[in-house]
Point group: C2
Chain length 463, copies 2
């Protein structure tokens, strides 16, 4: 199962056999014929977790494509092209007058020369590599980097969240003026939410960032996101956990989203992260930071950070669909889950056949909370009989907390206590905007302006 | 557990005892003091499924509120006010020159004088009642009505979907020029999706409609939605299953959404239904029907409808969250589920610990499909190792099919066959726009115009 040598780095099984049969090696320029057509591109190395049934080509347009070896009928080797991905390394300049920013890496595609996930990565990560790749960073801060993890973001879990929170606490206590967390985009919002609960009273910004398109593609958002997130960490006044990613209307700025109210809303667009049920905190570009609102926690150097990094993983999301049967609830109880976040329909509803199962669950001490799968709007369980009945069974509505945020918060709350009243108190006490008093009209579906300062800024910006 | 008499209609348990203690009866005007404050309003009757722990008041602003009897300290009776909810009944005019529309009722708040869900309902449903309540209907069609069910929409399930599809087939064969389905909003999109699969080759429009606010509230959308949906059923050229509900920009028109691409996106707004990943089919108001596009199935009287009303309820949605454990998959397999729709992160991903469980599932003959929880965008499982590995385990990506639509389609597909190839064929063959070739840019998050005809229409409209 291990790689024979660098010529076949990451390949095994039938993929390895196919390459050897046709004399193709990593970094070979290939013309591959399969049952669907002909593909020309560069054979990429793969990482050690790759499956054995595919080879991966980088196409001339920058996209990577996986080709099933079972369908390959011919491979012609046209040439070889390597090492064009080498990043020039230069000493990151130190300027005592500039803020200190720590970049903590967890994985993801930001500032790599090739998509890290394909294995064909020379990640730019040391300050020197980053300076060679994105020299604008030196205008902003003195940079320190530390690679904590190297996982696909769908593989982030409690161990990584806790380790990340502790590393953030350590860096803040060491005097960092801001933290940047490099993260894959799949579960970036989940991590931003849990950090909002695990890292309390931060005196400085904690900015989570990634990229939707790797930096070897012409349309990459990697450099822009990295520059803007570093600027937000170094200079922004917002001492909260925020996500800084590509804005919706142009490729010239990023939006700053509260960690508890952000969600990935498109599987492939760069402008995928959106604040749900509110307007973003502000925008940031290499020259400016514009706040859209005043209700945020200010940067204060004399405040001491508290790290409260606990998580009980015996929690689940029950995503309601019509016709759901009670065994979906019973299974969770029987398997020892301690907390359930329902994503209900409408104002927070499920069907009547689930009632006895939910009653059994709450009677067994399982903590059951209600959110809405509409994503926008509130769970209002006093309006209809269904809601009132569910509350009578012990199901607690969580206002406008997003289902994913509620899941992360419940794991965190159960890390503290299993006492019903205490869990209830933790869950329903707003932290970092996870519950808000109202959702503004211009926070529905898309941020479309409506804030005079922003509209004026955008007018001037595009002059 | 039965109601003693009309004075306490629907009340039982502690709610009944409390009312009797203070001499309060249904339709009494009350001043209720509880531990949270003082509430004045009209005591409403309740339906037979109501819980025993609350009384329900209609407040002067039209909202209903439930008050827990355990917290009530005093009730004063101020007066009595009944029968103001009586709907004038007038004979619905017949006009042989007008189209024939059948309104099939399943429940929900449309055209009721009070919210049906509270039990305090005098539903306007017969043609005569509807004519007395919404006389504009007679300008559009000859109306026939039939109440199929009276359930909250979260309680709709396979039995109701199949019955509804059969009733639609019967009415179309009887010569109806269009069908309107009255439906609660919670699971309206689910029902519209499954009808898109169960009702094939319809020669006429099938329009699903409801209301977000009951018709006794000043801001009700009930009459507008009913008029516009009836107009769409009677006159629209779109012989598909569509949802016609309140439009996003004003209260003057409704949008027409394809049944497979519509989703409820706000728990309380009237403009809650949105076409996802596309622009709507068009708009309709009492005077006009405007089509936004050409790619729909035309009305044709000489086409024969096929009713294909089957559903296997051994299907489930697995809504992925980071840290998910394999027991979530194993539970479904052990309990005999035959189909799983995963709502994955990013392009269609879950974590590695689930792989062995998914392999066990597909080896056991369970059909596993992948959708994306971003809602917008495609599941593209060829891009990353995670996706390729999951496909290697037998997980099949469903392009841009919505998770809820995929769930309904899988239940329908498994109603036909358990053969892997046949289920695969049914699931990946586009029906009614459930899978589309591309998502237009202006189909992301909100319909914001971009279609010249619509913008021109709106300009003229508001002159």
């Amino acid at each position: 199962m291990t790689t024979p040598n660098e010529d076949y780095k990451g390949y095994r099984g039938t993929a390895l056999e196919t390459l050897q049969k046709f004399g193709a090696k990593v970094w070979s320029e290939l013309r591959v014929t399969n049952t669907e057509g002909v593909f020309e591109g560069l054979l990429l190395p793969r990482n050690e977790t790759a499956g054995p049934g595919h080879i991966v080509l980088k196409l001339p347009n920058g996209y990577n494509i996986g080709l099933a070896t079972a369908k390959i009928t011919d491979i012609q080797v046209r040439g070889r092209r390597e090492a064009i991905y080498k990043i020039p390394e230069r000493t990151f300049p130190q300027d005592p007058g500039k803020p200190r920013v720590t970049l903590l890496g967890t994985g993801g595609t930001i500032a790599s020369r090739l998509d890290y996930r394909t294995g064909a990565v020379i990640p730019a990560f040391s300050p020197g590599e980053l300076y060679g790749s994105v020299p604008e960073l030196a205008n902003i801060c003195n940079l320190k980097t530390e690679k904590l993890y190297g996982v696909f973001s769908e593989n982030m879990g409690p161990e990584q969240w806790i380790g990340l929170a502790n590393a953030i606490g350590r860096e803040i206590r060491d005097g960092a003026d801001g933290i940047v967390v490099g993260h894959g985009t799949d579960t970036m919002a989940h991590t931003a939410a849990v950090l909002s609960f695990m890292v309390q009273d931060s005196p400085v910004p904690i900015v989570v960032v990634g990229s939707q398109r790797s930096s070897d593609r012409p349309s990459s958002d990697a450099a822009l996101n990295l520059i803007n997130s570093t600027k937000a960490a170094a200079e922004s006044d917002i001492a909260e956990v925020i996500v800084v990613m590509f804005g919706p209307t142009s490729d010239e700025y990023c939006l700053m989203h509260r960690g508890t109210r952000v969600r990935k809303m498109h599987s492939s667009y760069r402008s995928t992260f959106r604040t749900i049920g509110d307007i973003p905190l502000g925008m940031v570009d290499p020259e400016n930071i514009i706040h859209f609102r005043e209700d945020y926690r200010r940067r204060r150097k004399d405040r001491n950070v508290t790290i409260d990094a606990v998580f009980d993983d015996r929690v689940s999301i029950l995503y309601y669909y019509p016709g759901m049967k009670p065994d979906m609830v019973d299974s969770l109880v029987e398997r020892g889950y301690r907390g359930i976040v329902i994503a209900g329909t409408g104002l927070g509803h499920v069907n009547r056949p689930l009632y006895p199962a939910l009653e059994r669950a709450t009677a067994a001490g399982v903590h059951v909370f209600m959110t809405v799968q509409t994503l926008w709007g509130y769970s209002q369980m006093y309006v209809y009989d269904t809601g009132r009945d569910l509350m009578g069974l012990g199901v607690v509505p969580l206002a406008n907390m997003l289902p994913e945020t509620a899941f992360m918060k419940l794991g965190w709350a159960l890390g503290h206590s299993n006492d019903r009243q205490e869990v209830l108190r933790l869950m329903t006490t707003p932290v970092g905007g996870d519950i808000t008093e109202r959702e503004p009209f211009d926070g529905y579906l898309v941020y479309q302006g409506g804030v005079p300062e922003v509209e004026e800024f955008l007018r001037n910006y595009h002059k």
